[in-house]
Each structure stands twice: as C-alpha cells, then as structure tokens.
Amino acid sequence: MTPDEKTKIIQVNYLARVEGEGAMFLKIRGNEVADIQLRIFEPPRFFEALLRGRSYTEAPDITARICGICPVAYQMSAVHAIENAFGLRVTGPLRDLRRLLYCGEWISSHTLHITMLHAPDFLGYESAVHMAKDHKEAVARGLQLKKTGNRILSLLGGREIHPINVRVGGFYKIPLKSELQALLPHLREARALAMAMIEWTAGFDYPDFEVDYEFVALRHPEEYPLNEGRITSNKTLDILPDAFETVIEESHVPHSTALHAAMKGRGSYFVGPMARYSLNFDRLPASIQAVAQSAGLVPVCCNPYRSILVRGLEVLYACEEALRIIEQYTPPPEPAMTVTPKASTGYACTEAPRGLLYHRYRTDENGLILEANIVPPTSQNQKRIEEDLRRYVAGSLELPDEQLKQHCEHAIRNYDPCISCSTHFLKLDVDRQP
C-alpha cells in the first residue's frame, strides 16, 4: 500500500451459502486490522414478544418457525423449558422418540452444510452446483443422507419442514413400531453413507489454525448430549440451564440485529459441534471414537476448519443412535403425559445442530406465556467468530482483496452461522487504507 492510495472499499453481493442474510465489514489500516464486524442486518423478528399472551401449547409450533433448517431444536428447547416450569419430566419411550426426532434433524442439517455449503470451499468451487459436475457421487450421497434424516422428521414430526407433531408432554400421535422399523434399512444405508462422507472430507487440506476456545456444551452423565444435561465448559463452567442468564450476558451492538452473547467477566465462548465433541468425546461409542481418530481428529478439536469432520462424525453418531433407539423401542402407553399448567418459570437448553439453544418461559396459572427469552447458538458465537476472523485476517493481509474475501467467506462458513436463527449473512466489505 502506498501512502497516497485512497480508501478502498470492496463490495461483494450477498455472500452465498450461509443461512439468512448478513454482511462482513473489514477495515484495514496499514498492516493492522482496525475493525471487523459481522453485520447482521436481517430485521429482528420479535419472536419473544410474539409468544407473550399465547398458551404454552403454542410455543413448540411458534418457535419452530424461527428456523427452517433446525425447527426441531426450537421445539425441543420449548417443550423442555415449559415442562421444567410445570415440574413435569418426560421419560421412557417418549423421551427416546424426542431423541430420535432430534437425530433426524442433525442428519439433515449437518449433511446440508457439509455437502452443499462447506465442501465447495475446500475443493475450490464457487458452489455446490459447480462442484457437482466433478463430485457427482458426493452430492448424490449428501442428498440421500438428507433424505433419510427427512424420513425421520416426516414420521415423527408429521412433515419434514416445521414439524407439527411435538407437544408439551410428548407428541400428538406416536408412530407404530412397524413404521419405525421401516426406517431401519434406510438408516443402515445412511450409516455407510456417513462413513463414506467422513472419508471424503478427511482427504481435504486443512489450514493450521488453532484457537484456545472456551467450549460450551451440554454434558449428560451417560449420553452424547441432545436434549438434556448440565451446561459445561473446558474452563470450569458447570451449571444447570436455570443459571444460564446469571453467567451469560446478552448485549446489543449497533452493527447487528442479533444480540451478542458473552460470558460475564470472561468474554466470548464457542458453542456447536466442535464444543459438543470436544467436551463429550468420552460419551461417543468406541466405534465412533475410532472413526474420529482414523479421520485425523484428536479428542479435543480446536481447528474450526475441521468442524466439517466433526459434523460428519455427528451425522454418523445420529445414524447409530437412531438405529439403537428404533431397535429397542416399545411404544409408550399414551402419546403424551398429562400436563398441569401452573404459574412458574422454566428453563431449558438443548443441543441444536449449531449448538446450545436456550429457552426460558414465565407462565401464569393457566399456562399463558407472560415472558419468553430465546438465545440461539449463532448469537452466542458471533463475538467468537469476529475474534477468530480478526486473527485470521491479521495473518493474511498480504493477500489480494479478492482472495482475502474468498478466504474470509470460507472461514465464516466454518461456523455454519444460521442467521435465520440469530435474527439471520452475507456481504463482505473490505475498507483498506494505508
């Protein structure tokens, strides 16, 4: 850069291949990153206000509309939080069916991101459509895997997108054992496809980029976490979901319509598949631990580029877990447990495909919702993404702007940000001055 060079602003239109709409702004002065902002400009959607005055029975269906990719996560956090308020605990086959439904969402959501959004970055293609000519088999495999995830969603949720069969206390209708068993051959095929997908991504080139994250994820005494557990981190955090707001603080920054979250007194943290995996490696079956190792993953993964491998591993886990649940399934006596509303406050966190999803509801004695608070995973990761990008860009300033932009887009996709959820990515501006 020469001193007399003018301000340079480079603009690309909406960044493709992320969920929702947003932009990234990068201000470079000389050899320093002066500012970096993940600008989320999708209008805020006011879901929490929309829930006020509604019956508790409506919460799973209203909140499912927050995201078309992970509606089940919203339904699960909603029903668990309300059940927590009413002192109800759903156990046995109903609990298993919820876990199975969540497995369907993990398979569909992760496969979509791995195959259609993230893989083209590693292989140097502009999009999945460009990649499909040379990697037909990989794309077909992705479509097939997603379809199997969708089969679970259809059977248990009533339909694939925005399922309508989840209620506080259980389900409206439960599947026949025979209907579940019909999924078995598809899931066995999916397990093999997931293995092939992991093998494919294990062959990609991964940049050396390691970060000392504070990983935050649920931890359960026995299971790899989906629906329940304590909120834990690799840096001494260990709380119940009801203490979430005492530890996590949300704040508004002018450049984003999604609130930023930070841990009080500690700053940014990181939720999602890498956090779940790194905090719960010991909860994975030995067979899946072995697959992780053969794919080049260590038990604590601190390289965000390798998140694609972790997602693949979670797809494999979800297939295995779905098979296990179906094989040992005995139908529950009733599709739902009896629910008795009361004036109370309930809290829950579940593990959405993109990470920890917190819900809180305050209800009156009839179960009307007086207040709701929802903290999605992408909101929680925004600050961390900005910090990682600042470090990443600082090491790549010598790159021409066009290349720098491509690299930034790739880096952002490592986090699978769901801007639809966090309000909603992406346009990238580079402002470079001497």
């Binding site: 460009h130 499909a132 077909a140 339909r159 694939e160 997108i161």
Partner: protein
C-alpha cells in the same frame, strides 16, 4: 404430506409430481390433480407427492424420461386457475412466479444442480397454477375448484405427447403460458397510470420498456398485449419503444422493466 418412497433406479417413463400443502387452501391443487392422475392408473405414468423441498425433488425426478411438476403459484393480479407452463430444461422459472422455497435453494437451483449431476430428466415441465387464497384449512377456493377439471385435461394432454426433443426451445403445447401476459400487463398498466397521476398528466404519449432476455415474451407479443391493455386508459395510442435485452446474466433478465414514460 410424505414424499413416496421410490426406487429411482428402475422407474423410467413418465412421472407426475404433485407439490403442495393439503391444508393451505389452493396450495393443495398440485396434490389433488396428481391424485386424480393416479386414480386413472395410466400405464407408464408414476405419481408422486411432494412438499416442494427442492433437494428432495432432485431425487424424486431422477430416473424418469419425462416429469411433470404441478404446483400452485402466487402471481400478483393473476386470475385464479391461470396455468403457467415452463420447460425447465430450457428456461428457468421467471421471478414473477413465486413458488415456496426454503432459504437455501429454490426450484431453479435444484434444476441446475441436477443438470450438473447429469440426473435431469429429458423433459422437466413445470405446471404452475395461480392460486387465489392460501389460508389454513380453507380447501380450494371456488374459482380454483371450478377450473380443476380443465386443468386435469391439460395435464392429460401433456402426458399424451411424446418426449420433448432435447435442445429445442418449444414449450409443451398445453395452452402456452396462459394468461401470463395478462398479469404482467395489468401490473405494468397500474404502474403507468400511477406515474401519470403523480405527474398530473392527462395523457401518456410514449412508453419505453426493456424486455429481459428470459422474460418469456417476445417484443411482438408484448406489443399485441399492450395495445389491448391500453385501450380506454391514459396510455391509449401511446408510442411504445421495446428494447429487447440479450444478457441472460442480467439481474433483471427475467423481468420486464418500465424504463420511462412521457406524458402531457
């Protein structure tokens, strides 16, 4: 609505895929028409039902020679029951046709992906039927119900035709893109009248429009409709300049852009 399980390896021939949501008023029309085709048990015609997820549709149409997709569409100012027909192998759906799509991928992207994978049927034909109301649990609207037999006849006709030759730009002969122009013109006239009113003009003397390369209407065809549409309006007798664009990558390639009007 569940998508039927199919083995894409062995199913060739013709396939009809009804798309929609049974509980959302006129959005059920694609499913209802597909059901009627299914009841006729035509040889070599397989019928599937879909909620419209484009990634699933890629798998649904794979392996067949000719596929007809039937879906309700929302087109501003269109007469309910208006049938739009597009040969997706040769032309994308124009922006004026709104189908429901998730954030990530729409029908046009699904067609491109399928083409890149080499799984696009030789003929993939989209029948979009303009809906009137899409409310929860409403059932078909009376105007939609009234024309469903006629729509069914058109789909039957399309099925009877042999495969469409690859590489040609001919639309299937099922009534052309019926009335498509009507809604376009209605929209354009509304805008022209509004502009004239704002300018406090009594008469519009000249109109300049640009036709996008993928606008699905020729300049001559446009002129013809324009003459009809302007009769009795402030723009009757106005000179019409039509500029036909050729860049298919232009962001407005699928649109008709009103560039300017002159009024007195």
């Amino acid at each position: 609505m569940n998508t039927e399980t199919i083995n894409t390896e062995i199913n060739t021939g013709q396939r009809v895929i009804g798309i929609g949501n049974r509980h959302r008023g006129d959005d059920a029309i694609g499913l209802i028409l597909a059901e009627k085709i299914q009841a006729e048990t035509l040889d070599h015609v397989q019928v599937l039902f879909s909620n419209g997820d484009p990634m699933t549709l890629i798998q649904d149409w794979q392996g067949a020679d000719k596929v007809i997709l039937i879906d309700a569409v929302s087109v501003r100012d269109a007469v309910p029951g208006t049938l739009y027909c597009f040969h997706l192998n040769h032309q994308p759906l124009p922006a004026v046709i709104n189908t429901c799509s998730s954030h990530f991928m729409g029908l046009n992207e699904a067609v491109n992906l399928s083409k890149a994978m080499g799984t696009l049927p030789e003929a993939l034909i989209f029948f979009g039927i303009a809906g009137h109301s899409f409310g929860l649990g409403e059932g078909l609207s009376p105007p939609m119900a009234a024309c469903s037999d006629d729509l069914l006849a058109r789909i039957r006709d399309a099925l009877k035709q042999a495969c469409y030759p690859i590489g040609t730009q001919t639309s299937p002969k099922v009534g052309d893109p019926l009335m498509h122009e009507f809604s376009l013109m209605a929209d354009l006239m509304k805008k022209i009248e509004q502009l004239a009113q704002e300018a406090e003009a009594g008469k519009v003397t000249r109109i300049h429009v640009k036709l996008g390369a993928l606008a699905h209407i020729s300049a001559d065809h446009f002129r013809e409709h324009f003459t009809h549409a302007t009769q009795g309006t402030v723009a009757e007798g106005a000179r019409l300049d039509v500029e036909t664009l050729t860049d298919t990558n232009d962001p407005y390639a699928q649109d008709i852009v009103l560039e300017s009007i002159e009024a007195v």
